[in-house]
Symmetry: C2
Subunit: 319 residues, 2 copies
């Protein structure tokens, strides 16, 4: 009977879970509405019951190799979720301590979303066989994972890989972290919306964006407009790619990766984000690295990426 790993992705709206084979097939999946469980003990109990039922239904008796969890603000070393603004549980939640009694004898890891995506890329995706690479996740914010010598960089307290919070413009845009000018205020789904509004303010040309309030603008609308030839949308991607390319040129000097992968909503804009990012990356790279670093799309990006990423640590001892 085929061995399975359980992958759990805890989001502010839903908690998705799935049963994943060593070669990355999601054989069954389910979800729970996270916000329905303000009581954390109750949440963990319902989650474990739902997972047990899924195993019974889809793969009764299958050996479970372990449980991998991806969550915002997760501490890998402590097994906790700490002060996650979009989750219903306040303060520091001892996730592993509470979940492990339901899955005795299973190894269990919790890590943040971007690190889970990075291990997923290494185990199932386009980074298979690579020892040194960077994954950039472009969602509401900008997450990242650095792999060095085949190992995910965790750091002294497992807070490594927060490239989204490097300050690239001192005194610039206000960030959710309370500081100014962080990379993710420019390069992310929300960052590109802010850029469109800057362009609308600075220029006078007509644009469909002049009829859309800030609260209704999404990066998907900007991508659609770019496909239709809207100059503000194309300029917003150019600007986003410039900032991202410049930042990656600096990140490359630190870890000398073979490749950088772009993952998440903005990466789906294809050439609109890859072309300017790659151009500005190489224009800014030190001669030692110029034209030697691959800029590639994620190989696991899609519906099951979060479950795949969360489960991947079970098959690859990336710790």
């Amino acid at each position: 009977m085929e061995k399975l790993a359980i992958g759990i992705d805890i989001g502010g709206t839903n908690s998705k879970f799935g049963l994943v084979t060593a070669d990355g097939r999601v054989v069954a999946q389910g979800s729970l509405p996270t916000q329905h469980y303000p009581d954390f003990d109750r949440y963990v109990e319902e989650l474990s019951v739902a997972i047990r039922q899924l195993v019974e239904k889809a793969a009764p008796g299958a050996p479970i190799e372990g449980v991998g969890v991806g969550a915002p603000n997760a501490s890998f070393f402590n097994g906790t979720i700490e002060n996650a603004a979009n989750l219903p549980w306040k303060g520091i939640v001892p996730f592993i301590e509470k979940l492990s009694p339901y899955f005795p004898e299973c190894p269990m890891f919790v890590t943040n979303d971007a690190k889970a995506a990075t291990i997923g890329e290494m185990v199932y995706g386009n980074a298979r066989g690579m020892s040194d690479f960077i994954v950039i996740t472009l969602g509401t914010g900008l997450g990242s994972g650095f792999v060095v010598g085949g190992k995910l960089v965790l750091g002294h307290r497992s807070f490594a890989g927060e490239l989204g919070h490097t300050i690239i413009n001192p005194g610039g845009r206000v960030c959710g972290c309370g500081r100014h000018g962080c990379l993710e205020t420019y390069v992310s789904a929300t960052g590109i919306c802010r850029t469109v509004f800057n362009l609308l303010a600075d220029h006078t040309e007509a644009s469909e964006f002049r009829g859309i309030p800030f609260n209704d603008l999404t990066s998907e609308k900007i991508t659609q407009a770019a496909l239709a030839g809207d100059p503000f949308a194309i300029e917003a991607y150019e600007y986003t790619g410039k900032i991202l390319g410049e930042s990656l040129a600096n990140a490359v000097t630190v870890t000398d990766p073979e490749a950088v992968f772009l993952f998440g909503g903005l990466a789906k804009a294809g050439k609109y984000i890859f072309e300017p990012t790659g151009r500005h990356l190489n224009a800014n790279l030190h001669p030692n690295y110029k034209n030697r670093v691959k800029l590639l799309p994620s190989g696991i990006d899609g519906m099951n990426a979060a479950i795949l990423g969360a489960s991947a640590s079970i098959w690859h001892n990336a710790h």
Copy 2:
């Protein structure tokens, strides 16, 4: 009989070498004038003879555990020195291939100066017992070494750790690498001299620096002037610390180190460099890291640091 490692530090002026014990005592040392040997084969032969003579004289019959070499533009993976501007041998020099016949059965590593200093800090210095830290070497340029999970970060082609070539001011000062605004054009022995000349240009106050031509200014003179209360010297260190603190705040988000060590000439300025660097580091750190990263002096900085650093890889398998 005590086991010894051979450490060789290849500089533009001199090649220093020494016999080092596992606990970091340099039991004997010598040097050769690098520029006297335009012929590389001749250089390697003389170097090996000089080392053999040193062993015969200082520790006859002692078991040699290995040879560690620190050199500018060294490629760890290839065992080569590549296009080093300040060395007499042009192009790519196969250092390990040429030296290893003289020391058969010895492990032999070549790495760049900053990475050698970093391994030295880990094996003999103030980073003993730490798994995650950064070393910044402040010489003519700015070198760096990143240690993650107890291993030196080498990268895909061993060019990791070039923090001195992150662009911190696009379009800023011209760098030796051909680009503009690299960190080392601001934060290094030459960078702080450039800063003093900017200050002399922008302000009108009297200063001893108004009588010193650019070619005669050194970072040691600036440190002496700071100790004597010269406002330009103190302001130059404040500015240098601001740029370094801001850069380290970004580097910390990538690898989440326990500590950052400052090594080299500028670090000898003590409070003049440590105080502003630490203040600007913490002022710019993301809340996750604020006041949690130690800023410390190197524990191996001094006359034998280069030999110690070069030899350290023999005792610590940092690869």
